[in-house]
């Protein structure tokens, strides 16, 4: 109370003044609440000082005063208060409920007090009852505004949830009051609350003699008016309530008490036959829930009605397409129609499960005895074999199939009844006779296919039966022996059935399968049937051992002989994998043995033979699929593949048989894409990868000869990718093993071996090797490349042996134009350890030293080759000078050096190292040097010096692309690069001013082209958001570069990416302003690009940009209209359809603008 009282009094005055803006009033509330919270002001004092406001006879001031007190209490929810003050406050607010002018404040106050938790002092139960009584007596909810109604419902909800025993005593009064309050409610926000109110109300009065039971009819009458929820509010609305949420809330209210049953079930069943799909869907969902909540006793009498209604829905709404079940159709299956069918089946399943009393399941009996089902069954199961199954009968077929499978899936007894009734008849139609001998099948119609309808139903039944056995927890054989009758039947039939399916599958001619869908359908179900028969769990297997083997043999013979029919082949391989995974999952060692013998061994031997009948791709498919069954299988596959790869590798690289490369490439592909991926997910990657990488390096030692050949190049790229993947996935210690091995092989290269002078380690110090001094064999280049790919994929913490030598070697290769070496160097500098302890490793470089060394080598070696030798170039200016000197000679190392610099720059940029600026400046120097000046001063300059310069400038410009673009090959997440966030933005914002000012100053056109090229790379590779933010500054140059670069065909991709940047700017509000400022140039440039001859995408995008521009302010674009229309109507004649269509759109947009 030391505080001057006036300070908070002013807050009260400000709040009570209703003319102030709401934000300020909220601030006042917060200010006072903060005072109370920090004990600078007691609640008592506050109330005492506010007395006048709380009791005045001026309604508006009283209302504001009470509201203020209530809002303050709302802010003090977590502040402990003593019981006395809570009591007096509750009493106050309770009495104020009668004062309708201040009702809002009273409601908020009550709510704030009722919501208090026990640990901070809560309202007593008797007080809560007083609140409820006063509320019921005084508040007329229906006549209030939305916001107040919502508060009322919240008060009720709070009372019911927190003080159930207090309000329960009010009994009928309460229920009646709530009925009155929620009647005719329309606002969705309030409806969510009222639905919830009914739900908790039912919980408060669970007794059959309770108030809810006596008011059930009235309550349900109020609720039922909302069903089905019809709600068409736009989604963007701030209400933030969807139809689904409302519907869910109403559903919970419906199911809240079984007393609703006599009213709800007839309503739901009636709405089930509504023609509105939404009403159907909702009724099904509600019904499903009600069956579960109302209890069997109440529901059993509705069983017949439920069944007949569900039957109608299922029969009329079953999708006809599911029969295909091929993948391309599965995508768009979620139509309303299908949802209805799905919900109906779920509901049927619930009904079967729940409506089960006294060992007698009424629904099941209805299903089995139903005449409709009987009739449809007779109809569809005889549906012919040919192509002519109408859509309607497909629908019926899937409906009957679904009903049968749901009812047999539900319980063992259901399964028994359905099975006994239908299975023998299906067998009859399929002309399969029961017999105990496995050979007793009828194969009299070997070529004719099976009756599709019966086949489909039969497979559905079997599949659901199998599922039932799998899901039922007890795998004890007693279950079976009880129902011996039908089990015997299944056992008798399964053998012949398998044979019939098998022979049908083998009999189908492949042309038939290729040509029509019915063939495919047949095959799908025949394969599925066999697969189901082979995957019954353990002791439940209905087939004998030889039938099981017969099934495997059938699949295998398709897999090995019928590979020209891709569809069937895939199906059966998939089925085999399923069977294998099943065995693996249930540890069925007995069947596993025969699976191994028949399937795995066969595929393995197939793979090992070099017969050319089966394509290699399929063999690889099959074998890698087999591997996915389990770890044991995969390790076998890995061994096989590795052996094959190494032997082919030997053949290619040692014996020089180049044709083997064609086999080796897909082998490597399969290995890295599938096997390694699997190992990665299953967790044994490290071991496998390390072993294999070491194996490859062992082989590398022995390779001898190489010719340059396209095939070999292809193979080698593959090898490098594989090596990167292998190394990249390994842990640190395995990586260092591989590196050491690789390093030892590297030392054996001819240029590093003892007799070769320049690199021998004793002379390495201070030695500067000119790149063309070393003549490399192909072998050496291979080894260096492979070594580079190891380095690229290393983790930052993995140690490298002899860094100095490596830097030297890689730099040399870089200068020879060896890209992997440049990338490896970039990876090295990117992952370089910053804090190396010099005392521990005296020979180690720091990162700065390493970069210095690389830069010097790159520049110096070039220099020495041009006989301008300088011994040391330690300061920056001199280096710049030497860089300029480079321009004078036409050594091919220059552009190599530029590419190398670009990669190293990228590595540095990504880790956020300062040196990248130096490199960028060097590159800029290349761009800016003027060849003409040099030509004049140097009389001996030959004619092609100019060409060399332009090509050098171009590669310097392209270097910016390298620096900013993402690379698949190195310096990415997979290869453990250090990536600082926002590095592109940083580079963009530091380079842009420099580039822009250089462009402004540049005088010669060739120099400007190069600068624009660099500029174009930078803005198209930088993140769009960064570019758009700078739109005003860069737009003029962007347009200039579009104009400049469009002269050369080679720049077409660059033009396209520039256009994409432009369209990004067009989509942004700030960007639009920039565009409007330059509207003339933008439009005329775009018009020129409409006729860009080299690339369709450029023309299309240019027109799209024009379309977007038609939405700019009318006054600014209207003058361009004739110009645009003229150009676009010419584009109507474009060679490409897409462009023409865009042109029509564009013309439409600009014509209708006036």
């Amino acid at each position: 109370m030391d505080k001057k009282p006036s300070s908070w009094i002013s807050h009260i005055e400000a709040f009570v003044d209703s003319s102030r803006p709401p934000k300020q009033q909220a601030a006042n509330v917060d200010a006072i609440a903060a005072l109370v919270k920090n004990d600078l002001l007691t609640l008592e004092a506050l109330v005492r000082d506010m007395e006048l406001y709380l009791t005045t006879s001026d309604h508006s001031i009283r209302a504001r005063g009470i509201l203020l007190l209530a809002e303050i209490l709302n802010c003090l929810m977590s502040k402990p208060l003593d019981g006395a003050s809570i009591s007096s406050l509750v009493e106050f607010f309770t009495s104020k409920l009668a004062d309708w002018q201040v009702l809002r404040g009273a409601l908020i106050g009550c709510l704030a007090l009722l919501r208090r938790k026990k640990n901070v002092g809560m309202v007593k139960s008797s007080e809560a009852r007083a609140v409820a009584e006063s509320y019921l007596m005084n508040v007329q909810v229906q006549s209030l505004a939305v916001h107040d109604r919502k508060l009322c419902f919240e008060v009720l909800q709070c009372l019911l949830e927190v003080y159930p025993e207090a309000v329960e005593m009010l009994g009928d009064d309460l229920v009646y009051g709530i009925c009155e309050a929620i009647d005719e409610e329309k606002d969705p926000r309030c409806l969510m609350l009222t639905f919830h109110l009914v739900e908790i109300l039912a919980r408060v009065f669970p007794d059959s003699s309770g108030s809810v039971a006596s008011f059930a009819g009235d309550l349900f009458d109020i609720l039922s008016r909302y069903f089905p929820i019809y709600f068409t509010h736009p989604r963007s609305d701030d209400l933030d309530i969807t139809r689904e949420e409302l519907s869910m809330a109403l559903m919970h209210a419906f199911c809240s008490t079984p007393f609703f049953e006599p009213f709800a079930i007839p309503l739901l069943l009636e709405k089930l036959s509504s023609s509105l799909p939404l009403a159907k869907l909702d009724s099904l969902k509600y019904l499903n829930n009600c069956i579960q909540h109302y209890g069997t006793d109440r529901m059993i009498k509705h069983a017949k009605a439920i069944w007949s209604n569900l039957k109608d829905v299922i029969l009329n709404h079953s999708p006809h397409k599911t029969l295909f079940s091929t993948s391309e159709l599965a995508g768009n299956m979620e139509s309303e129609e299908n949802q209805i069918a799905k919900e109906a089946l779920i509901c049927l399943q619930t009904a079967i499960l729940h409506l089960d009393s006294l060992e007698k399941n009424p629904i099941l009996s209805f299903i089995v005895e139903d005449e409709d089902i009987e009739m449809k069954f007779g109809l569809v199961s005889n549906e012919g074999t040919g192509t002519g199954i109408s859509i309607e009968s497909r629908r019926q077929l899937s409906a009957v199939g679904n009903i049968l499978s749901v009812s047999s899936k539900a319980s063992m007894s259901g399964c028994t009844r359905v099975f006994q009734k239908f299975f023998p008849r299906l067998m009859n139609i399929l002309e399969i006779s029961a017999s105990s001998s496995s050979n007793g099948c009828n194969t009299n119609n070997g070529t004719s296919s099976l009756n599709f309808g019966a086949l489909y139903l039969c497979i559905q039944l079997l599949a659901s039966f199998r599922e039932l056995i799998l899901t039922s927890q007890d795998f004890s054989p007693q279950v079976i022996t009880v129902q011996d009758g039908w089990w015997c039947m299944l056992q008798h039939f399964s053998g012949p059935l398998a044979h019939a399916l098998g022979s049908a599958l083998m009999g189908a001619r492949s042309s038939e399968l290729v040509n029509n869908n019915t063939g495919h359908e047949h095959a799908i179900y025949e394969v599925k049937g066999l697969q189901v028969l082979a995957t019954f769990p353990g002791c439940y297997l209905p087939t004998s051992e030889d039938v099981y083997e017969y099934i495997l043999v059938i699949f295998m013979s398709i897999a090995t002989e019928r590979f020209e029919d891709a569809f069937l082949w895939k199906l059966s391989v998939k089925a085999l994998i399923e069977i294998g995974s099943f065995i693996e999952k249930y540890h069925d060692s007995y069947r596993g043995i025969s699976f191994n013998r028949i399937v795995v061994e066969r595929i393995v031997s197939l793979f090992q033979q070099d017969d050319s009948t089966m394509p290699l791709a399929l063999k690889l498919d099959a074998i890698s699929e087999i591997g996915t069954i389990g770890v044991d299988y995969m390790s076998r596959v890995i061994k096989l593949l590795e052996e094959a790869i190494l032997s082919k590798f030997l053949a290619v690289c040692v014996e020089g048989r180049l044709e083997a490369a064609e086999i080796l490439v897909p082998l490597l592909e399969c290995y890295s894409n599938r096997v390694l991926l699997w190992c990665y997910t299953s967790g044994n990657f490290d071991e496998v990868a390390m072993q294999f990488a070491l194996c490859i390096w062992n082989q590398m030692e022995s390779i001898t000869i190489f010719d340059k050949d396209a095939k070999i190049q292809d193979l080698f790229d593959r090898m490098m990718t594989t090596m990167k993947l292998l190394v990249g996935g390994c842990a640190e210690e395995n990586q260092s093993l591989i590196v050491r091995k690789a390093y030892s092989v590297l030392l054996s290269t001819s240029f590093l071996s003892e007799e070769s002078l320049p690199f021998s380690s004793s002379k390495l110090e201070g030695l500067q090797v000119t790149p063309d001094f070393v003549n490399l064999s192909w072998r050496d280049e291979w080894i260096v490349s492979l070594f580079a790919s190891v380095v690229i994929a290393l983790l930052p913490q993995t140690p490298l042996p002899d860094v100095k030598l490596l830097l030297n070697v890689l730099t040399t290769f870089l200068l020879k134009g060896h890209l992997p070496a440049a990338q490896a160097l970039a990876s090295m500098v990117n992952k370089w350890h910053v804090n190396i302890d010099k005392s521990e490793v005296p020979n180690a470089y720091t990162l700065d030293e390493a970069i210095e060394m690389i830069l010097e080598r790159s520049l110096l070696s070039v220099q020495s080759s041009s006989n301008l030798g300088k011994s040391d170039l330690l300061n920056k200016d001199e280096r710049m000078l030497s860089c300029l000197c480079l321009l004078n000679n036409n050594s091919s190392f220059q552009s190599n050096a530029v590419v190398g610099l670009a990669w190293i720059g990228k590595g540095l940029l990504m880790r956020g190292h300062e040196k990248v600026k130096e490199i960028a400046m060097l590159l800029l120097q290349y761009l800016l040097s003027n060849p003409y000046k040099e030509l004049h001063s140097d009389a001996s300059g030959s004619g092609d010096s100019l060409d060399v310069h332009t090509s050098l400038a171009t590669s310097a410009a392209d270097a910016f692309h390298v620096i900013l673009s993402d690379s698949e090959v190195c310096l990415n997440k997979n290869f453990h690069a250090m990536i600082r966030p926002l590095y592109k933005q940083r580079f963009f914002s530091s380079m842009m001013p420099v580039l822009l000012s250089s462009i402004k100053q540049s005088c010669s056109s060739s120099m400007r082209v190069a600068l624009y090229r660099a500029f174009a790379h930078v803005i198209s590779d930088a993140p769009l958001a960064a570019v758009v933010a700078e739109a005003k500054k860069i737009l003029p140059s962007l347009m200039d570069s579009l104009a400049m670069l469009s002269e050369d065909v080679l720049n077409k991709d660059l033009i396209y990416s520039l256009l994409l940047v432009l369209s990004g700017i067009l989509m942004d509000d700030n960007g639009k302003e920039a565009i409007i400022e330059n509207i003339n140039t933008v439009i005329s440039d775009l018009i020129r690009l409409i006729f860009y001859p080299h690339m369709m995408l450029v023309r299309e995008t240019a027109i799209q940009c024009l379309v977007a521009m038609s939405a700019l302010p009318h006054a600014r674009i209207y003058p361009m209209r004739p110009q645009v229309l003229r150009a676009v109507s010419k584009a109507l004649d474009d060679r490409k359809r897409v462009v023409r269509q865009e042109a029509v759109r564009c013309r439409q947009a600009w014509v209708s603008m006036a």
């Binding site: 359809r1137 029509v1144 759109r1145």
Partner: protein, 147 residues
């Protein structure tokens, strides 16, 4: 003007599925009948809320294109013989094609021989009221195609 509709109960046909063309990135795409059809199939009939395609006034087969001469020929079939809207339909087609194809294309629009009582008069005849209908129909098309 006539009171009531000329053809109160037209036969409505299903829309044909739109094929996404497999674009060959290298070859040129010449204008073909499907192009023309695609641009006019959604024109709304002056009388009914159906498109010309749905009323089978037009089909892909009734369109011929001569790329060399730059000539597009459309033959349409009014739904009834005494269709006074034939002129309007013709005008709709002409305006739509003018919008969608380059100015040098010659567009010929005819009714199918024997399908209309007043075949000679052709589509060049206009009356003031039909222009407003025309604007309506095209406007509706535009709204549906852009929105």
């Amino acid at each position: 003007m006539t009171l009531g509709l000329i053809n109160a109960n037209p036969v409505v046909h299903a829309k044909k599925e739109r094929v996404a063309r497999a674009e060959d990135s290298h070859a040129d795409n010449a204008v073909d009948p499907l192009d023309v059809f695609d641009s006019v199939r959604d024109i709304r009939d002056p009388e009914h809320p159906y498109s010309l395609e749905q009323l089978s006034v037009l089909s892909e087969e009734s369109i011929t294109v001569d790329e060399k001469l730059g000539c597009i020929q459309i033959t349409f079939t009014p739904t009834v013989q005494y269709c006074s809207m034939a002129t309007v339909i013709g005008l709709c087609l002409r305006v739509k094609l003018m919008q969608c194809f380059p100015p040098h294309c010659k567009v010929d629009i005819n009714v199918t021989p024997g399908s209309h009582a007043d075949e000679e008069s052709g589509e060049d005849r206009t009356c003031p009221t039909s222009e407003t209908i025309l604007v309506d129909s095209l406007g509706a098309y535009r709204a549906s195609s852009t929105g």
